[in-house]
Assembly symmetry: C2
Homo-oligomer: 214 residues x 2
DNA sequence: TCAATATTGGACTCAATAGTCCTGTGTACG
DNA sequence: CGTACACAGGACTATTGAGTCCAATATTGA
């Protein structure tokens, strides 16, 4: 939206203030990823960011405002990552590399914590309407990135033009999110890997045999 | 596990006591579904079930124990529902009816609250190891019910025998769970409906044209 | 360098919530 | 029919966590 990352500051901030603000949000995001939003106290954030209560309330009206800043922060991170990984994909092989990268990252933590965005969404959606809408838009952005990659693959000719890639993109994102949840519950990447693989297999089955490109 | 529903009681209970216990768990489950676990206080449960604090602590050692009883309760409900809906499915049409029923129910609440089991899983998995494992087993049961339906479809001949239905089942469950999450975030069933439809389309694409049965 | 203002520290308040305890009442069985 | 014990009520405590306040310090611009 505006030049500085993470939401508009409401108050005028010097460079030092911005750094402090960023430090708070980054620390809060880390804690909330691991402990959840409800499990993270403002005192936790204080200690982790090395900042005092009054600063917290100088920068954020209340905890909800901090949570929203965290949503923005995490959202920017995820969108940047996905833009990086999907932005130039135009082949099935490219999509498989995308899959590998996500699976590998999740395997390192044995499925713990699930998807950074998905966990926030599930915890916040029925409680904070503003944050819910922010997350909805982030999911839509993510879905669009997948859709655009699919559309590029389609344009190479391996995928029939009659296929609605935007519906496929919803399917991919849902498989991924559901996979994250199952992996988190099982403490094992496997269900997440399988879920995305099945979605990829579907895409492959749609590529008419003996078509152009790879 | 044992005859009475919802976990073992640790203490001896008369019929009246069992009813009280059930009332507590049912009230807690309802509240937690709407407000989340963290958002539901024991006082809320007290008021909703018309029961006093000491009774709560007579029946449950602490809040975690109550949460686990809720998991068992909700799990039994979901497994019963899915057994009902999937237990006799042996055609694609039957699977579509299953989809319709889930989508319809979710549409009524505009996606709110997500999946009863999924929401619990996401809130509890990184916090209570015992509850996490219970939920993992419930998801496995659910997945098995889907797998068995797919296997029956496979046995009618419309689905090639070389296909691994258990992997497909993981894909279905993940699509469903991810769809629930996206629907909850969007306050709209649509993403959930699309996610399951894409999964169904995949299955249909696997049914070799010109095979037996319907 | 001085004054205005941004920034910081942390003690303090107030409300909410998990968990305890004790007293009284219903009930089942000998 | 009475005694033991299961069950119910609700006041009470201890803790935690969100949010406030004000005094002290750093920064910036004139």
């Amino acid at each position: 939206m505006n030049a500085n990352s993470d939401e508009s500051p409401a108050i005028r901030l010097t460079a030092r203030g911005m750094r402090t603000r960023t430090r708070i949000v980054a620390a809060a995001a880390d804690l909330m990823r691991v402990q959840g939003i409800g499990g993270t106290t403002l005192d936790d954030v204080m200690v982790a960011s090395g900042v005092s209560k009054s600063q917290l309330y100088r920068h954020f009206e209340d905890k909800d405002a901090l949570v929203r800043a965290v949503v923005t922060h995490v959202g920017e991170f995820v969108v940047a990552r996905e833009t990086n990984m999907l932005g130039k994909v135009s082949t099935l092989a490219g999509l498989r590399r995308w899959r590998d990268s996500l699976v590998k990252a999740n395997a390192l933590r044995h499925g713990m914590y699930g998807c950074a965005l998905g966990s926030l969404a599930s915890e916040v959606s029925d409680h904070d309407a503003v944050a819910r809408q922010m997350l909805d838009e982030l999911f839509q952005t993510w879905q669009r990135l997948i859709d655009e990659a699919l559309a590029r693959i389609q344009r190479t000719g391996v995928l029939d033009e009659s296929i609605d890639t935007s519906r496929l993109a919803v399917g991919f994102l849902a498989s991924l999110q559901g996979g994250y949840l199952l992996a988190q519950t099982a403490r094992d990447v496997e269900p997440m890997a399988i879920a995305v693989d099945v979605a990829l297999a579907h895409l492959e089955s749609l590529t008419a045999p003996g078509r152009a490109a790879s």
